[in-house]
């Protein structure tokens, strides 16, 4: 379990870091494009496509595990907070397992799509060039896989301990 927890922490940090880099790249690319258009009158084509098909996908999906592990996922805590403590723990395990299951399923499903896109070198045709967009497919896989791991670790961490089991957090 410790190994999975460590792997989840690394996955969450790495995917979160890449998501933050995507925010920076998005800002820099849009800013540079505008400056070039205003100053020189023209800019290399493909900025909107790169922003939408690459940076945006990275920003939305990659930080999901970080969002989950830092408790920033949007959820309705009000009703669960009214439950008795034992029920709350069961509910936490349930919510984390549902999250892990669904995220794992989407990671698995999008893996095939990403693999196929990589094999055929998926690109977006522009006027004079083309933009490789297959790497963004892997952002979806990585984001959901990291989220599944993170939620799984949370499920085990929140599980009520049975008599004789160690209560040490993972």
């Amino acid at each position: 379990m410790r190994a999975i927890a460590r792997l989840a922490a690394i996955a969450s940090t790495v995917t979160g870091f890449l998501g933050k880099i995507a925010v920076l790249l998005m800002m820099a690319h849009i800013g540079l494009d505008l400056v070039l258009r205003v100053v020189v009158g023209t800019a290399p084509e493909g900025m909107p496509e790169a922003v939408a098909r690459i940076y945006m996908v990275m920003v939305v999906f990659l930080p999901m595990a970080l969002t989950q592990s830092t408790g920033r996922q949007i959820e309705v805590a009000f009703f669960a907070d009214l439950m008795p403590r034992t029920l709350q723990r069961i509910q936490s395990v349930f919510a984390a397992l549902v999250t892990a299951g669904l995220a794992g399923l989407i990671a698995y499903l999008s893996f095939d799509v990403a693999l196929e896109a990589t094999r055929r070198g998926e690109r977006l045709d522009l006027l004079a060039a083309s933009l490789p967009i297959w790497p963004a497919r892997w952002a979806v896989v990585a984001g959901f896989a990291a989220l599944a791991l993170s939620a799984l670790v949370q499920a085990f961490g929140a599980a009520p301990t049975l008599p004789g089991q160690s209560s040490e957090p993972v």
């Binding site: 933050k20 998005m26 849009i30 098909r53 920003v59 959820e75 309705v76």
Partner: protein, 438 residues
């Protein structure tokens, strides 16, 4: 079983999941998947799910969201908006509840430079709360004015909810931005009138005895006005970009973020560490809110397959004069959803359901946009999931009880009710500015 009856069961399942604290995005995607599978089979539903998240997120228009969030976070962390509070504090110093009114209008001004309600609440609250606490203001009023004032950013352009609504309904974001100005100012004025009335009737709310005088501020107004240049310049750049015709909303967001960074660096009020914190916060917030948008797109796609929007429209038309029944139903649905869902989730889930009925009634979509954004703004301050209330709670001493903050917020909700009646009765208020652009 009819598909739309099945849809009702799926919606009930979604509500059960969120009550069990399953993340909203996960609940939306899961129910969308189950519903779609029940209609077209598991394999086709899985095939749709393997591509749908990326296809929805890879949107140029939606990219405006992280850019405006980044701009707002930079403004908040670098203190670019601090002078706003100093300015309004002097302007409203002589009025009952002057500091609270200054906080309220500072939030509106901050909204013009951020587009994010949470950034406005935290950005202005960080500054205003210590001032109000020192003056002896009631903590409930302090929290409520920060939380509720922050929602003004949803209406004052550039507004993230209007961008999302524009994408959903294929409207011009610029026209919707213009439509939000008058309702935004009207809401700020309604809040201010309510604050004045309450503090006039009960001076202890502003830490003053019944016959006590308000302390005058010694700051020089001209100096404070000069100090407004960073926020004024930033707002001007964004508005020029948007309405000068050289930037789309996304580009204006990127331009705003770059300009905020440049101004903050020029003022030497921003470190590299703060910038990285702003980037980190933007990445996490964007992911948290847009993954819900992805989930809502999966569930609403299913609801459309199931013919649910048409079913809602037909059911409402059975009540005779459709318009008022539709508006009443819509209002109840938005208020109830706003109590349990985040703002964008409400908009993305409910708008596609009501849109066909709104179009069938021949109602103006720009006016409808204002009504929807007003309702999701109200959702930000209605318990139990009032995101702005939680943000405001974080600004108050830890021992302050949350129910007291909710009670203080009720006065602001009363003001909101008055504003909603005005906006429903006088659509021209929302449509006047857009009519100049069309």
């Amino acid at each position: 079983m009819q598909p739309h009856h099945q849809a009702l069961i799926v919606i009930a399942g979604f509500l059960i999941l969120i009550v069990l604290r399953v993340p909203v995005a996960v609940s939306l995607i899961l129910c969308g998947l189950i519903g779609t599978a029940s209609l077209i089979g598991l394999a086709p539903a899985m095939a749709l799910l393997s591509r749908a998240p990326l296809e929805f997120a890879a949107s140029w228009e939606l990219s405006a969201v992280p850019m405006f969030l980044l701009m707002g976070t930079i403004v908040s962390k670098s203190g670019l908006g601090d002078s706003l509070f100093a300015f309004f504090r002097l302007v409203f110093a002589r009025l009952p509840g002057g500091l609270a009114i200054a906080t309220n209008f500072s939030c509106a001004g901050f909204g013009a430079a951020s587009g994010s309600s949470l950034a406005a609440t935290v950005g202005v609250g960080r500054l205003a709360v210590p001032h109000m606490q020192r003056a002896g203001y009631d903590l409930g009023l302090i929290g409520a004015v920060c939380g509720c004032g922050g929602t003004l950013a949803a209406l004052i352009p550039p507004s993230i909810p209007f961008i999302v609504f524009a994408i959903l309904t294929e409207q011009s974001a610029l026209v919707l931005f213009a439509a939000g100005v008058v309702p935004g100012l009207l809401t700020a004025i309604a809040y201010a009138v309510m604050i004045v009335a309450r503090c006039w009737l009960d001076p202890t709310l502003e830490g003053r005895k019944a016959d006590g005088a308000r302390a005058a501020d010694a700051e020089d107004l001209s100096e404070v006005i000069v100090g407004l240049w960073p926020i004024a310049l930033l707002t001007l750049i964004v508005i020029m970009g948007l309405y000068g015709g050289f930037a789309t909303p996304t580009e204006a967001g990127g331009l705003g973020a770059c300009s905020a960074l440049a101004i903050a660096i020029a003022r030497r009020s921003f470190s590299l560490r703060q910038f990285w914190e702003a980037v980190s916060e933007t990445a996490v917030t964007t992911s948290a809110i847009l993954i819900i948008a992805v989930g809502a797109s999966v569930l609403t796609a299913y609801l459309s397959f199931a013919g649910f929007p048409a079913f809602v429209g037909e059911s409402l038309s059975a009540f005779g004069d459709g318009t008022w029944v539709l508006l009443a139903t819509l209002s109840i649905a938005f208020i109830l959803l706003g109590m349990v869902l985040d703002p964008l989730g409400v908009m993305l889930l409910a708008t596609p359901i009501f849109l066909p009925a709104i179009e069938a009634q021949g109602l103006d979509l720009v006016w409808f946009a204002v009504i929807v954004v007003k309702y999701i703004e109200i959702g930000l301050i209605t318990p139990p999931v009032g995101l702005n209330l939680f943000a405001a709670r974080g600004l108050l001493p830890p021992e302050f009880p949350f129910p007291r903050l909710i009670r203080a917020t009720m006065w602001f909700l009363l003001a909101e009710a008055v504003v909603m009646v005005i906006l429903f009765s006088l659509p021209g208020l929302s449509l006047w500015l857009p009519s100049l652009l069309r």
